[in-house]
Symmetry: C2
Subunit: 279 residues, 2 copies
C-alpha cells in the first residue's frame, strides 16, 4: 500500500488541471493507494515566508534569517500549524505529485512556490550535508504534472522559449532532487487551452494509463553524489571527468561540463551514464 | 533623469540584501535618478493570484482563467489597487532591479514570484503577439541582483548545483526578456552568509561602483525575434540555422540547438552573434 500526496494549485474546479488531478486521485485510489490532496487555493495556503511562521519568539529579530530560524522552530515544534500539517502529509508520502500550471512565467505559481519555501524546512527536508542523492527524502518519489500555455514546438532547443529541459532543471534538480526525491519524468500537458476537446481527452487518457504503473517507473537520472568532491565545492572528481572525457554530451542539463546538453535529460529517464549512447 | 524601481524582497532590514538595496538607492539617487522601492515584505504584498484580484465580477466563474480574466479587468480598470499601484511604478520606470534572495530553491521567493504573477498582467506586460524583442517593455531595462546560499564553485558547469547560467535562463529569458526588457547582467553576491565581513564589504563595494555606470551598460544578448519563424511555432529560421551551422556553441542557453551552451550567456553580455568567438 502506497501513500500519495498531490500538491495541487489551480483556482478553478472547472480547469484542465483539476481534471488531471481528479484522474490521478481516481486511478491511484483504484490501484490501492491512499491519496492526500493539498488544494492550495482552496485552503488559502499562505505563500510568503514570514516571521509569523514561527509561533514563539525568534532568536535574532534584528537580522532575521528565515532558513535558520525555521530550522530552530522545527526542532522545537514551534512552526505554525499550516506548515506542520503539510510536513506530516509529506512525511508519510511515498510519492508527491505537483499538479499545477507551472508555466506561470516558466516556473510554478507563487502559491506553490510558497509551499516549497515554507514546507521544505531546513533540517526537515534538507541540510547542506544531506542533499541530492543523500537527501532526507531519498526513499520517496516526486514528479511535476503541469500544463503549458505554449505549444510543444516553442519549447525545443531551436525555438524561442528554449529547451524545456533547461526550464525544468532548476525545479527538478534544485528542489526535488536536492531533497533526495527520486524524480519521475514530468507529465506535460501541452497547451490544453489551444487544442481541441478531443486532444485534451487524449492527453488525459495518456495520463490515466501512465498512472496505472507510475509507482514502478524508473526515475530520471542525475549524476550521483559520489561523482563530486566535497573538498573542492562539489566539483566533479578528476577521475569522473576522465572517465567521461570522450563523451559528446555532458552528464546532465546543469552539469553539462561545457559539452552538449544531454537530450531530454529532464524529460525522460536515460540509460545509465556508463552505458548510454546518446547520439 | 531616469526612473528606477527596486522590487525588494527580504524580511529583515539587517540583512545583506537590505544593505545591497540601500547602496542602490543611495548611489542611484546621488547620480540623479528617482528611485522607487517596493518593499514586498514591508507592504505585506499578496503573493497569490486569486479571483479577488479583480474588483468586479468575473466573466467565467465556473472555469476561472486568471490570465484572461485579469486581462479583461486591466482593460476595464478593474484590477485591485495593490496591482495597479505596482503597474504605475513599473510604467514610469526606465530600469527595474529585482533585489532578492532568489536562491530560495533556485528561484525567487514566493512573494516576489507573486509580484511577477500578479503585476505582469496579460495585455499590460505581454501578449503572445508582442513578446521578447517586440515586448511592451522594450524601452526599459531590468536586472536581477541577488545573494546565493552556496559558493560560486557549486554553480559551475562541473559542479553539483549545475551551471548558474542554466538556472538564470527561465528567470531572465522567460520573465524579463519575454516582456521585452533589455536584461542587464545579474549582480550575484556569492554566499554572503559564509564569507567574512570584509569580503561582504568588497562585494558591496563592487556593486556600488557598478551602479555608477549601470544605466550605460550593454544588456545581455538574446537571439532576436526575427531569427524565429512565427509560422513554425517560433522555430529558428532555416537561413539562421544555416548561417550559424559551423559555430561550436548554440545561440543561447535555452536556444542551444543541440550544441554546447554558450559560456556565461546569462551572466555577461556577449559580443554580437556573428562576430563572437567563444572558444
Amino acid at each position: 500500500l502506497k501513500n500519495v500526496l498531490i500538491v495541487y494549485a489551480h483556482q478553478s474546479s472547472g480547469s484542465f488541471n483539476a481534471a488531471a488531478k481528479d484522474v490521478a486521485v481516481e486511478v491511484l485510489k483504484a490501484s490501492g493507494c491512499t491519496v492526500d490532496v493539498s488544494d492550495l487555493y482552496a485552503i488559502n495556503f499562505k505563500a510568503t515566508a514570514t516571521v509569523e511562521d514561527i509561533t514563539v519568539g525568534v532568536k535574532d529579530p534584528d537580522c532575521f534569517c528565515y532558513a535558520e530560524e525555521t530550522k530552530l522552530a522545527w526542532e522545537r515544534n514551534e512552526l505554525s500549524s499550516d506548515i506542520t500539517k503539510e510536513q506530516c502529509k509529506l512525511k508519510k508520502a511515498d510519492l508527491v505529485i505537483f499538479q499545477v500550471f507551472p508555466m506561470y512565467w516558466f516556473s510554478v505559481p507563487a502559491i506553490m512556490k510558497g509551499w516549497i519555501d515554507r514546507v521544505l524546512t531546513l533540517g526537515f527536508a534538507f541540510s547542506p550535508e544531506k542533499c541530492y542523492g543523500e537527501g532526507f527524502f531519498k526513499d520517496k518519489m516526486a514528479m511535476l504534472s503541469f500544463t503549458t500555455g505554449s505549444h510543444q514546438s516553442m519549447f525545443s532547443a531551436n525555438a524561442i522559449n528554449g529547451d524545456m529541459n533547461i526550464t525544468l532543471w532548476p525545479l527538478q534538480n534544485g528542489i526535488l532532487h536536492y531533497c533526495g526525491f527520486k524524480v519521475l519524468a514530468p507529465e506535460i500537458f501541452w497547451a490544453p487551452a489551444h487544442v481541441s476537446r478531443s486532444e485534451c481527452s487524449t492527453m488525459l487518457n495518456h495520463w490515466r494509463i501512465r498512472l496505472g504503473s507510475l509507482m514502478s517507473e524508473k526515475p530520471l537520472v542525475f549524476p550521483p553524489l559520489d561523482y563530486f568532491e566535497k573538498e573542492t565545492g562539489f566539483q566533479l572528481k578528476p577521475e569522473i571527468i576522465e572517465k567521461f572525457a570522450t563523451k559528446e554530451y555532458g552528464l546532465a542539463v546543469g552539469v553539462h561540463q561545457g559539452k552538449k546538453v544531454p537530450l531530454n535529460n529532464q524529460i525522460a529517464p536515460n540509460q545509465n551514464f556508463t552505458t548510454s549512447c546518446r547520439t
